[in-house]
Symmetry: C2
Subunit: 193 residues, 2 copies
DNA sequence: CTCAACACTGAACGATCGTTCAAGATAAAA
DNA sequence: TTTTATCTTGAACGATCGTTCAGTGTTGAG
């Protein structure tokens, strides 16, 4: 093994992130990892297996960022900072603006069953962590108790999706930082029916 | 010609909508149109040409729905109705929940240049129509004059994206109708900086 | 009926897809 | 040094990809 398994996963993540699951060919991965097909297949089984490890690594990283928000003293301030992260990407990393999970979800019907399930699981994990943010903010009084935390978590995930998707389509993602402020401002309101 | 060109486009739309641009093969389209490759190529040039006509047709339909909102007496009420449309899809049409444009945008880097440009143009057209909704609502007093209409249009497009994407990932899209009410409720607020 | 015009057919092309596998390289244990 | 276990190599496989084209069928004008 010329370099550790983890580096292969990170290199593969770059490729899947840039080209999507369907758009990425094994030959793209062979070039990215600088390995021949046999090495990749013996290490990860197949394209699907490699992607599942990439997705798992990506999800854990994103989830730990969200959990950092939960642990902070002012969850709402830290949430604002978290949402701004992808808006300051340089041109060479523009493909990292969009969330890898959302990007892959778009090809839903054409994905292997295991990938579909893994995406669902990742999505639920992140929503659950968003819910923890709401609960933490309520517990320290930054948000009222009237908010239905499960709905707020789904809504927050939706805002995350909107922000990432809009930013990915702009020449300068930083131009929608104002939307982060609106999200934080809208979070406490309009939860009654 | 056994049936009009427009029907070919509608059938192709079903396929592209379900499987995405990369996920759709010419053989899928041959089956959907019940035509052999030569017929399709003589009528549309190639896969890209057929998709461009599909995208154009889709965009016009969606845009006219938005313009209907602009023309209505109560734009905000009609906007609520417009946003709810995809949330009441039966199981056989679940793939129509997600917006075709957003779905295709996910594969961005792997798409032909003409498709990239067409998606950009469609996206801008719809944002412009969203802006007309804001302006109309302001003109009849449903919204205050303090709102920056271009930002509100982008925000509204983002909410549209969030709603469609969340709904597409749920077993029952109708379960997030509450979010439409929150969107309408959030629209007038938090536009000052 | 004739003939030009046009849409349609379907076998086939070269390219690329994900994947396999026998053989070679490498390094630690014996 | 030999053995054993592990990792790597790269040619090659069958399947599928988008696309082409010579031939067939259909239609309406003269």
């Amino acid at each position: 093994m010329s370099y550790p398994r983890e580096e292969s996963i990170q290199r593969a993540m770059e490729t899947f992130w840039k080209k999507g699951y369907l758009g990425t060919g094994m030959r793209d991965l062979q070039a990215a990892l600088d390995k021949r097909p046999g090495s990749i297949y013996s290490a990860f089984g197949n394209k699907e297996g490699l992607y599942l490890e990439v997705l798992n690594s990506y999800t854990q990283r994103l989830n730990s960022q969200i959990l950092d928000v939960v642990e902070s003293q002012s969850p709402l301030d830290e949430l604002r900072r978290f949402l701004c992260i992808p808006l300051s990407m340089d041109d060479s990393s523009m493909h990292k603006v969009q969330c890898l999970i959302i990007k892959t979800q778009a090809d839903w019907t054409e994905l292997p069953d295991n990938v579909q399930r893994a995406l669902q699981t990742s999505s639920e994990l992140l929503r659950h962590s968003f819910q923890k943010i709401i609960l933490k903010a309520q517990s320290i009084g930054e948000l009222g108790e009237n908010i239905q935390t499960n709905r707020a978590a789904t809504w927050l995930q939706g805002q995350f999706i909107a922000l990432r998707t809009l930013a990915a389509g702009m020449e300068n993602p930083a131009d929608i930082e104002w939307m982060v402020d609106k999200i934080i401002g809208d979070l406490p309101n309009n939860w009654e029916e």
